[in-house]
């Protein structure tokens, strides 16, 4: 069976500046990913690591500089506008900011109906019925349809966005930090909603996040990004419990541990900001902040190697499990 999403060696560069000072930023630098049907892959990293660019390229909302994207076994890169339109029925996007992603001049009904209108699904009455069904699915009251988005809270707005994304019954949802703009109490509700929907509709999620508590809860697998590259990838349990890349280790130690595990972990605090993608460090991009960095790290870029089955790390000196940070 084909993967819901497969990304091969994706590169995205942006030009910056103009004239003589024109240069190029490589926001995504050779990322490969796969999301199986019904699975959640969490893409984790600090802001500026290229997570969102990867997600936008995956759904052809940005044009990749090179690399390939496959959705449901169909190659997305190089699709005609018509093919792209039909692709939209299979893959949808949920945005980070529920205040910016809903048109303030449209009613909720118009917003949720828009995908049905665009793809001419059924007749008008049928579309309205579907809108009501979708609003019920995401837990909004029936009278919500007639109101406009600014009458809703952030969490409710995100539910509207989810209803819109589900309207065409896609198999893949790309969720770009869908809860990071919400209150903590509301976050859990939306996450639970997304998990329920996944069970009911066999959805695949590419779930972008920087909050590891959320990732632990929802993800089957995790990929960690740093400065446009994937530095570690593996099953969620394993990455959370036994991270191998020093950067992942640092991320995990910064996140509040799950209560009840009783595992004492030393807190590793990263110093400094991530380096600028305009002028990335040579070798391993993380060496400027890594406590294990050696000369090799400054010159040779470590490849992503599968150390254990299903667990790949891009590091010359991966953290040994059990011993170092037990």
């Amino acid at each position: 069976m084909d993967d819901a999403l497969r990304i091969d060696d994706l590169v995205k560069e942006y030009p910056i500046g103009s004239g003589r000072r024109r240069s190029i930023v490589r926001a995504v630098d050779g990322v490969s990913l796969r999301v199986r049907r019904g699975e959640t892959l969490a893409l984790v990293g600090e802001s500026g690591s290229g997570k969102t660019t990867t997600a936008l390229c995956a759904l052809a909302l940005e044009r990749p500089t090179s690399g390939e994207v496959w959705i449901d076994g169909r190659e997305v890169t190089g699709m005609s506008p018509k093919e792209l339109r039909s692709l939209r029925r299979q893959a949808q996007y949920i945005f980070q900011d529920p205040f910016a992603s809903l048109n303030p001049r449209m009613s909720v009904r118009e917003i949720v109906r828009e995908p049905l209108d665009i793809h001419r699904v059924g007749d008008s009455a049928g579309r309205d019925a579907r809108v009501a069904e979708l609003l019920g699915l995401v837990g909004l009251a029936g009278d919500a349809a007639a109101r406009s988005p600014h009458q809703f809270s952030g969490g409710q707005r995100q539910r509207i966005g989810i209803a819109r994304a589900l309207a065409l019954s896609p198999g893949l949802l790309v969720c770009d930090e869908p809860v990071s703009a919400l209150d903590v109490s509301v976050q859990a509700q939306v996450i639970n909603l997304l998990m329920d929907l996944q069970d009911e509709h066999d959805l695949a999620y590419l779930f972008i996040a920087h909050d590891l508590a959320v990732v632990r809860q929802i993800a089957h697998r995790v990929a960690v990004m740093y400065l446009g590259r994937i530095v570690e990838e593996g099953a969620a349990d394993e990455i959370c419990a036994k991270p191998r890349h020093p950067y992942t280790v640092a991320l995990m130690s910064a996140a509040p541990a799950r209560p009840g595990r009783g595992v004492h972990r030393e807190r590793i605090v990263l110093t400094g900001d991530p380096p600028s993608p305009i002028d990335p460090p040579s070798g391993c991009a993380f060496h400027t902040r890594c406590w294990k960095a050696a000369d090799t790290c400054r010159t040779v870029r470590p490849p992503l190697i599968e150390l254990d089955p299903g667990h790949a790390v891009a590091c010359h000196f991966p953290v040994r499990r059990d011993t170092e940070l037990g």
Binding site: R88, Y93, F95, A100, L102, P104, E114
Partner: protein, 319 residues
């Protein structure tokens, strides 16, 4: 003309977060604007129905009642040096003002808005060409060029030969002699609207909901009409309201100078000019159209200010 336009430009930046009902409510809370709007409606209705309630036509001359003062036996506003009823002339003059204003609005909506949308949506060379021409248009001596164009069109209508002149002549018959004014409005009045809508379009295009619409498979038409245009309604409304006085002013100035509407049709500009010839002996003859024109322009200005305040969520309410 340009300083009023520039005031409009700075007013164009209105955050688009108010619902239409909310805007109507806020507008109705602004008493001055509401009263002004009501008065304007009244004036326009009176002007366009004047044939029904006036006994004399604007061109009827009566040598027996020349230069009669207002509130006398010869009509409410008196008569001019040819014994024509000033009230009838005033009403016709207002019709011409309204016609110029309506056409100016049409130009803004039918030329300025689409051009601004196109430039803002497509970017690239279309944008560069459109915005360079806007820059040039804002830097030319507007009134002088307007008068030149007016002169040209008038002569074309009067004595031109060829297809263009024929077309202009048939337009002139339809527009009661307003052709030179209309041509000038077409040349000038798309400019500031195109600039405002273009800027607004670029702001809206960068917002997530446009990206979301593209992610849903929306084509350019849907994005422009349903997403961009809907969010430009507020600045468009404000710009239209702010430019209406300028269109009326253009008509009056052109007619006053003799390159607009021809006598005996009484533009308010023509009435002001003719009255000023007798300013020492019969000052009311220029005072009546002057005050009327100023009042109408002022009322439109108040409505525009009210709209701007109602559409801008950052202003406080109830004044």
């Amino acid at each position: 003309m340009s300083s009023i336009e520039s005031a409009g430009l700075s007013a164009g930046r209105v955050p688009a977060t108010l619902a239409p009902i909310e805007i109507a409510r806020r507008f109705s809370h602004r008493r001055i604007a509401l009263v002004s709007a009501a008065l304007l409606v009244l004036i326009v209705v009176l002007a366009f129905s004047s044939d029904l309630w006036l006994t004399r036509d604007y061109a009827d001359q009566d040598p027996l009642v020349r230069n009669q003062p207002p509130l006398g036996d010869a009509g409410l506003l008196g008569t001019d040096q040819l014994g024509r009823d000033l009230l009838a002339r005033l009403m016709f003059g207002i019709r011409l003002s309204v016609a110029a204003a309506a056409f100016g609005v049409l130009v803004q909506l039918a030329v300025g808005v689409p051009l601004g949308l196109l430039a803002g949506y497509r970017g690239g060379w279309i944008d560069s060409v459109a915005m360079r021409s806007v820059d040039v248009m804002l830097a030319v001596p507007g009134l002088l060029i307007a008068l030149l164009i007016g002169m040209n069109i008038k002569e074309q209508v009067a004595s031109g030969s060829g297809a263009v002149a024929d077309v202009l002549r048939s337009i002139d018959r339809l527009t009661a002699g307003l052709t030179p004014v209309f041509v000038v409005l077409v040349v000038f009045f798309w400019v500031s609207m195109a600039r405002i809508v273009r800027g607004e379009t670029r702001v809206v295009m960068a917002r997530d909901f446009v990206r979301a619409a593209r992610g849903l498979g929306a084509g350019p038409f849907r994005i422009v009409v349903h997403h961009v245009l809907r969010n430009c309604i507020a600045p468009i409304t404000v710009s239209v309201a702010l430019l209406i006085p300028v269109t009326m002013l253009t008509e009056a100035a052109m007619s006053l100078v003799g390159v607009g509407v021809d006598p005996p049709r009484p533009s308010l500009g023509v009435m002001i000019y003719e009255g000023a010839q007798q300013i020492n002996s019969f000052p009311y003859q220029t005072l009546v159209p002057s005050i009327t024109f100023a009042a109408v322009v002022l009322l439109v200005g108040f409505v525009g200010d009210g709209l701007r305040a109602a559409l801008d969520p950052t202003t406080e309410q109830g004044r």
